[in-house]
Amino acid sequence: MAMKSILVLAILFCFVLPSRAQVDIQLKTDPFELGYTFPRLNIGIEVKGDDWAYWSSLHYGWEGLGLHDKRTYLSGPYSIWGIHGGVKRILTSLPFEQSLGLHLRFDRTGVPLTDDVFYQIEPAHAVLFDLAIYKRTRLGAFIDYGMEFFHGRFCIEVIHSFGVRRIRKWYDDIENPFVLAEITPPVKLVRTDYKKAESVWKGAYVYSMKMGWRL
């Protein structure tokens, strides 16, 4: 599925490829997310002109990417997929390339969890369950500041992105739910933020690293 999507993406990019443009195949990751709950890797294409570029990438995540090993709450393999796309204006090219850009991103997560709890924020209650499918969608818009370094055909870019996200988290297919009223999350949940079932707007910062190969 992911490979087919990449192929379609590549074809679409080729159709709109200007004659003077360069094309990079890129591998991208958000390093902070590797330490969080549901890490992912991106693969995509960037089309670059003299002082502009547009790009898109697909991402996919799996458990093996995580830096920590305490995932006892997972009952099976999980799937994360998403798509990012953006444009950027290249400000300077020497000694390294700096750019400002905009991008949109959407991702979806589905994870089976066992013997856990989630907190329905509105109305406030907790639900203990034997098995449930955690689902999350995130739609975000970001402003990017990137610094790209070249060595021959190889390039590496670090990108700081600031923006907002609409995050929706919910649980489906709950087995043996045990509902407790008037319960709120007792502590700040960071790596276990998935336990809150809610829809929120959030400000976000994303630090990304991209490695690319010019075709």
Partner: protein, 193 residues
């Protein structure tokens, strides 16, 4: 192009706000069920093993609970464990006992079969609550502080007022919480001679 220091400041502040790890203290404990109902002799302070045949008039039902702790998180980094200062120190109860019902498979104390006996019994928690009536017991429970409340779940007794007519009795218990969950369990048969 000269790099703007403002950008670096924004990045650092955002990083600081983004990174944090949950400490492991605090959380909730929920009553998930009645784990067992045993026949207890208040004089000898012993649980009577099955098969139970007795002449004593000091019997009680000893109730133990099945509890589930949640909300504290097993995932933790050693770095910044103390980053969140607002973790509660102890545990909070996520549900409360709001009603207790006791039934017998035989007519007992001039009540027909399957009548609720709970109002006839007295309730006691070792070193915490002396024998009190049901209404008073239910009033006292939510006000107990944490340590005492957990004592309740280690076992409280429902004391029979007198020895009933000789027969073999099976008692069952229903305990309801404030969320409408009803936890049920039965005691082993007791032959009262």
């Amino acid at each position: 192009m000269q790099r703007k220091p403002g950008l670096v400041v924004i990045v650092m502040i955002t990083l600081f706000l983004t990174i944090g790890f949950q400490c492991e203290d605090g959380g909730y404990i929920a009553i998930r069920g009645v784990s067992k109902v045993e026949i207890f002799d208040r004089v000898s302070k012993e649980v009577l093993p099955a098969p139970i045949s007795t002449t004593t008039d000091s019997l009680a039902l000893l109730i133990s609970f099945e509890l589930e702790q949640f909300a504290s998180n097993e995932v933790s980094f050693s770095l910044m464990d103390e980053a969140w200062a607002d973790c509660p120190d102890g545990f909070c109860m996520a549900n409360e006992i709001t009603d207790i019902r006791v039934f017998c498979d035989k007519a007992i104390y001039n009540l027909p079969v399957n009548s609720d006996l709970a109002g006839l019994l007295t309730y006691r928690v070792q070193d915490i609550i002396e024998s009190v009536a049901l209404d008073e017991f239910l009033d006292i429970l939510p006000g107990l502080n944490e340590g005492y409340y957990f004592g309740v779940f280690e076992g409280f007794t429902m004391n029979f007022p007198t020895k009933p007519a000789p027969d073999v009795y099976i008692f069952s218990v229903e305990i309801e919480d404030n969320n409408g969950h009803v936890f049920t369990a039965s005691a082993p048969p007791v032959e009262w001679q």
